[in-house]
Amino acid sequence: MVRPPPLLPTGLQRRLLPADASRRSTLPLASEQQPEPGSPGEAERAALQRALVRVLSKPGGYHAAGPGEIARAAGLSPETFYAHYRNAEECYLATYDAAINELRVAMAEGAEEARSAHGADAWRRQLDGAVGAMLTFLAKWPELARALFTEVHNAGPAAMLRREAMLARFVSDIDHARATLDNPAPALASGVLVRGLDQVISARIARGMTQQLPMMLDDLSHYWREPGTDD
């Protein structure tokens, strides 16, 4: 049987996939397993990034995360650190990019599941799926959540630019998914959605409530759902 062409050529799940999702990171940050290293250098970078995430979750946060601390937490020498990164900021930026890619893969999977279950034009369900997957991801990896959402504010201007670019990309993903479906919400609505979610999530992480995030999906979805309906 020939599959019909997808109704959503630029559906949310596809928009969310990182450009290099096809060769999914061999060394995911969000994993309990020590992954099979592709090369010694890759394994060291992965160890340093994971160590940074652990260091960031300690009371001093980013301000206490010097190259020495990161290397020590990774069980590596400072020389090894400097072989890969010039400073803590460079290590943070690499970790941020890798973690956001993993988050996007998880969100794309959530959107795809909702698309299979509810159909290609159920964009609100797809958004439920994507946001739900994000909340579950963050609750499962609370140290990563803190590194991405709260410590980014302490990590310097380059990190703030990455954050701004990440928010803008989520906004355009949602805009595209809405546009293909003739959803007529004004342009600003997606920006308020993405930035509002960022605020609610960051406030919960700062209050040590990261584990409760997945329970908040239903209440949050009132913003994109029609009141009094299932849609």
Partner: protein
């Protein structure tokens, strides 16, 4: 003046506003030195207000991180000793000024929404005033809305509390508008308030506060939509005073 408190034109009268709203606008209100025969409490309040105005000005002129107690006392024209009689340091002082700005914003919001107008009109009045004040004093708005994130965990906590207070206000106003059996949860209101706050912050960071005037209708749509649904929110948010 705060991003919400007072009015760009009328704020200076300071008649019907709480202390923070009118005094923060003034760079300095120094009492004549020497024997002026004023009651001690009056002098103390005046000093405190001068410091609050000075910290916001100093942060607006550079950033929270670069501001020093030296900058604040220079602006307030008070001694370091007097400063430390009022505040423990820069953080304590900035938080007091932030609290005053939020207090003024809440006061203005309550005042604008106290009448018998519809929900949509009240939302328009509040957001219109916010945009007017941000456009009139973008540096001050930047201190309150953007720099506060850099001012440490206590300031972040205050900001978080302020967001939830405004979210509760929005919910109280919007709840009667919803259809029967529909309740908009506090988290959805918090998302709207946080999202609008951050949209305004983003424009301030981009140096595009002026663009907010054209985005006003869309901001109103975002505040109405969880309560009214898409079609009504769109109709009610369009054009001049609905």
């Amino acid at each position: 003046m705060s991003p919400m408190g007072g009015h760009p034109d009328k704020g200076r009268s300071g008649v019907d506003e709480p202390p923070g709203a009118s005094t923060l606008e003034r760079p300095s209100r120094q009492l004549p030195s020497g024997r002026h025969g004023l009651p001690r409490q009056y002098v103390v309040d005046n000093q405190r207000e001068r410091i609050l105005a000075a910290v916001m000005q100093a942060v607006s002129a550079s950033s929270y991180a670069e501001t020093t107690v030296g900058d604040i006392i220079t602006g307030a024209r008070l001694s370091r000793r007097t400063f430390y009689e009022h505040f423990d340091g820069k953080e304590d002082c900035f938080i007091a000024a932030y609290d005053a700005a939020i207090e003024a914003a809440l006061h203005t919001t309550r005042e604008l929404t106290a009448g018998g107008e519809s929900f949509a009109v009240k939302i328009r009045l509040v957001l219109e005033r916010l945009v007017e004040n941000v456009v009139a004093a973008p540096d001050f708005a930047h201190s309150c809305m953007v720099e506060v994130v850099a001012a440490g965990p206590w300031a972040l906590q205050r900001r978080d509390e302020a967001m939830r207070t405004f979210a509760a206000l929005l919910r109280d106003l919007g709840q009667p508008e919803t259809a029967d059996e529909v309740t908009v949860p506090p988290l959805a209101a918090e998302l709207v308030v946080g999202g609008l706050h951050e949209m305004v912050s983003a424009r301030l960071v981009q140096g595009r506060a002026d663009a907010l005037g054209e985005e006003l209708d869309q901001m109103i749509y975002c505040a109405l939509v969880p309560f009214c649904g898409h079609a009504r929110a769109e109709a009610l948010s369009r054009g001049a005073t609905a």
